[in-house]
Amino acid sequence: ELKVEQNPLFLSMQEGKNYTIYCNYSTTSDRLYWYRQDPGKSLESLFVLLSNGAVKQEGRLMASLDTKARLSTLHITAAVHDLSATYFCAVALVTGNQFYFGTGTSLTVIP
């Protein structure tokens, strides 16, 4: 079974600051996904990373994937309050159709 660990689990940061959320996984995979969830809402897809070295950016968020280290990062640049949410990473096996989720990082951006 594939294990996915995120850290930190909780993150409180001031507006304008930078920070990184880490996602480690236990088994070889080349498919890594990042989702955002607002309180009481569903999950919204942010990034799909499909190869080693993949980097994607959308606004103040940038995601990267290092398949050799089994690590993905979600970097937040100059945080704003609207980024407050819970962020999940998910990994899919190279073969198969199951997705494994991390426990999520609850981000609060303080004005």
């Binding site: 919204e44 799909v48 199951q98 494994y100 989720f101």
Partner: protein
């Protein structure tokens, strides 16, 4: 947004009663999934389907069954609900193309008293 609906959106039931949750998609995607979300656990896969009448178990399948008689519908049944099945249930769909990205339904909040 991907066309995924779940019904009901909220349900309160009593221990021992059967419950069926429905997921309906309009995207004609092959794969459909049922997850439960609980604090501290992220999302955990209950069952998934890779085609009509083709289903498989996930990591927390005990106490749940599924059926998929049409491409667009995936049903999750709790044969005899227990309080430990109180949770938020999400359906997701995924296609064959590209990175098989998942799209999620709005969720069903189930409370078992």
């Amino acid at each position: 947004d991907a066309g995924i609906t779940q019904s009901p959106r909220h349900k309160v039931t009593e221990t021992g009663t059967p419950v069926t949750l429905r997921c309906h998609q309009t995207e004609n995607h092959r794969y459909m999934y049922w997850y439960r979300q609980d604090p501290g656990h992220g999302l955990r896969l209950i069952h998934y389907s890779y085609g009509v009448k083709d289903t498989d178990k996930g990591e927390v399948s005990d106490g749940y069954s599924v059926s998929r008689s049409k491409t667009e519908d995936f049903l999750l049944t709790l044969e005899s609900a227990t309080s430990s099945q109180t949770s938020v249930y999400f359906c997701a769909i995924s296609g064959m193309a590209g990175g098989k990205e998942q799209f999620f339904g709005p969720g069903t909040r189930l409370t078992v008293l």
